[in-house]
């Protein structure tokens, strides 16, 4: 008789868990929040379970709107947990979105905050969800998903990546690896140093994006133009595979890593 695994038993979420889910949407989903503000917790647009309506009956919608605005403000301009914010980390991307596509930074932020990508952002590593990813990396993930109202063809992705990678290595240089995991494409740890390289050869001339190397370690970061062979030799060196390098290359790399303060 063939062995059949028992179907997993799905426990329905408790009332408390459902309350937290609604609270999360009130905090981070502008459309949900506005429907709540306009029509109250019993609104057909919210489809709250009947046993939750009472729990949200005392929400002061004026304060709720302020909370939403404060969260957006921290994402845009920086604050507790959000580091430099989108304005500090993505000035060129935001310029492109505003000047060429007519989308203001607050609109960009609202869409980002309501997206699944933002849910990966966690600046406090002690919740049941564990460590998070940095805000810049989450924003890159959001834009790489080609949001229809912002960049449906994904044309901006390389620019977003360049700015995200720079922000991530700056954050890691201040010790952020204690709080965040780094999963951004084209980046990996080699011998304790975060390394990234991308040629950006698919980008428009006007962006002036050159092949760039991103490094962070020892409380320092290095961002600058580089060629792939140099980058590959450097990661080989950082990995400790010294036999794979010619002696003069090894010495040169050792000098550079030391001068950069990465170790």
């Amino acid at each position: 008789m063939p062995h059949e695994s028992p179907a997993p038993v799905l426990t329905p979420p408790t009332r408390h868990e459902r309350i937290l889910k609604v609270l999360d949407r009130l905090l981070y989903d502008r459309d949900f929040r506005e429907a709540f503000t306009t029509d109250g917790p019993a609104s057909d647009r919210l489809t709250l379970d009947a046993d939750l309506v009472d729990a949200f009956g005392r929400v002061d919608v004026h304060e709720l709107a302020l909370v939403g605005r404060n969260i957006r403000s921290e994402v845009v301009s920086g604050g507790t947990g959000t580091g430099p914010g989108l304005k500090g980390a993505f000035p060129r991307t935001l310029d492109e979105l505003r000047e060429r596509r007519g989308v203001a930074v607050n609109q960009v932020a609202e869409q980002f905050i309501a997206s699944p990508s933002f849910q990966r952002f966690r600046d406090v590593p002690f919740s049941p969800y564990g460590r998070g990813t940095t805000l810049p990396e989450c924003f890159h993930r959001f834009m790489a998903g080609r949001p229809p109202a912002l960049d449906p063809l994904g044309e901006l992705e390389p620019l977003v990546h360049h700015e995200a990678a720079a922000a991530v290595v700056r954050a890691v240089a201040t010790g952020a690896h204690a709080t965040f995991d780094v999963t951004l494409g084209h980046m990996a740890f080699h011998g304790g140093v975060l390394c990234g390289f991308r040629a950006y050869d698919e980008t428009p001339e006007a962006w002036l994006l050159k092949p760039t190397m991103f490094l962070a370690g020892g409380g320092r970061c290095v961002i600058g133009p580089a060629r792939r062979p140099l980058y590959e030799a450097l990661t080989t060196f950082l990995d400790g595979r010294l036999d794979a390098l010619a002696p003069q290359v090894r010495t040169s790399l050792e000098d550079r890593v030391c001068a950069w303060g990465l170790r």
């Binding site: 408790t14 009332r15 408390h16 309350i19 937290l20 609270l23 999360d24 905090l27 009472d54 729990a55 949200f56 009956g57 005392r58 929400v59 002061d60 004026h62 304060e63 709720l64 302020l66 909370v67 404060n70 969260i71 403000s73 921290e74 604050g79 507790t80 947990g81 580091g83 849910q119 952002f121 966690r122 600046d123 406090v124 590593p125 002690f126 919740s127 049941p128 969800y129 564990g130 998070g132 954050a171 201040t174 010790g175 952020a176 204690a178 709080t179 965040f180």
Partner: protein
């Protein structure tokens, strides 16, 4: 705990003028140093509110240079406490505590903090910091989470934990759940053995939110654990469009002093009254607008400390 008198509470953000210098190994800014040189003797104890330097490791030695200098300026061996912001005492979800407890206990050991305070708030939810701590979820399940969490902290920390009644309308928080906040707080304090800290602005914010304004602000206070109140906080507040705002801008309202005067005789185990987040100039003087009611507060506390029930 002995009666200490007037306390000074300072929330020192890294990189701000009233804060810590981020450069070097860290130290209080010149403005903070000037304030403490001029004013420290006027206070009987002080606490510092925890602000993380950055996203880096929660390692106590990263904070030692700045805190060493801060407490040296206040006066070696004078009473100190620690206002935490990472315990997440009002959290409605599970929370990993071991690392934070180790960090806090290392600070307690080095500085001899007499107690640790934190507002019964949701400081972060699902791992994301909130712009202002939200009040706990006021349901039976929310209460259970708070009691479990606070009791766990009481057992882990090597100094008494004093749990502060949360802020309710700090320009960015709202009520979830239908339980009465005073009763909810009283239950948490009594069931966990924690001490109670009453922030007068937070109490007034809840009173205003529930319509108990003006002379009605004295109603319902019996539900609070006044007999377990160990410390009182007062910070600058404002009433804006009928809403009570806990702005921490240094300027105390008449209503705060009136409520303090009303409550002092009802708090038999009170250790001290803290002026939290005074605002001061570059040369360390209280900003002029804050002085009149700050002086009234100081007189009130002096009178209480000396045993009188009332002050002018």
């Amino acid at each position: 705990m002995e009666k200490l008198g007037l306390g000074l509470g300072m929330d020192l953000v890294w990189g701000e003028r009233i804060g810590f210098e981020k450069t070097g190994s860290g130290r209080p800014t010149d403005q903070v140093a000037a304030f403490l040189r001029h004013n420290a003797p006027a206070y009987d104890y002080m606490f510092v509110a925890f602000q993380p330097i950055d996203y880096g490791p929660l390692a106590p030695e990263r904070y030692f240079p700045a805190y060493d200098r801060l407490f040296e300026l206040f006066g070696a061996e004078r009473p100190r406490a620690f206002h935490h912001t990472m315990l997440n005492t009002g959290s409605p979800e599970r929370y990993r505590r071991a690392e934070i407890a180790d960090f806090t206990n290392a600070l307690i050991e080095r500085y001899g903090f007499r107690w640790v305070i934190e507002d019964l708030g949701i400081w972060s939810l699902a791992g994301r910091s909130l712009p202002y701590p939200m009040p706990p979820v006021l349901t039976a399940e929310g209460l259970e989470h708070c009691v479990t969490g606070v009791a766990d902290w009481v057992g882990r920390l090597r100094a008494p934990l004093s749990v502060e009644f949360p802020g309710f309308t700090e320009g960015g928080s709202f009520l979830v759940g239908d339980l009465d906040a005073f009763t909810f707080y009283d239950t948490v304090i009594r069931e966990t053995g924690a001490l109670a800290t009453i922030d007068i602005g937070h109490i007034l914010a809840y009173q205003w939110l529930t319509g108990r304004t003006g002379p009605r602000m004295f109603e319902g206070l019996d539900a609070l654990p006044l007999d377990r109140c160990h410390e009182v906080h007062l910070s600058g507040c404002q009433i804006v469009d009928g809403r009570f705002r806990d702005l921490h801008h240094g300027v105390l309202l008449d209503e705060q002093l009136a409520l303090l005067e009303h409550l002092l005789p009802q708090m038999p185990n009170l250790t001290g009254v803290t002026y939290e987040d005074p605002k001061f100039t570059a040369d360390g003087q209280l900003v002029p607008k804050s002085r009149p009611n700050a002086e009234r507060l100081f007189a009130l506390v002096r009178s209480w400390k000396e045993g009188g029930a009332r002050a002018a």
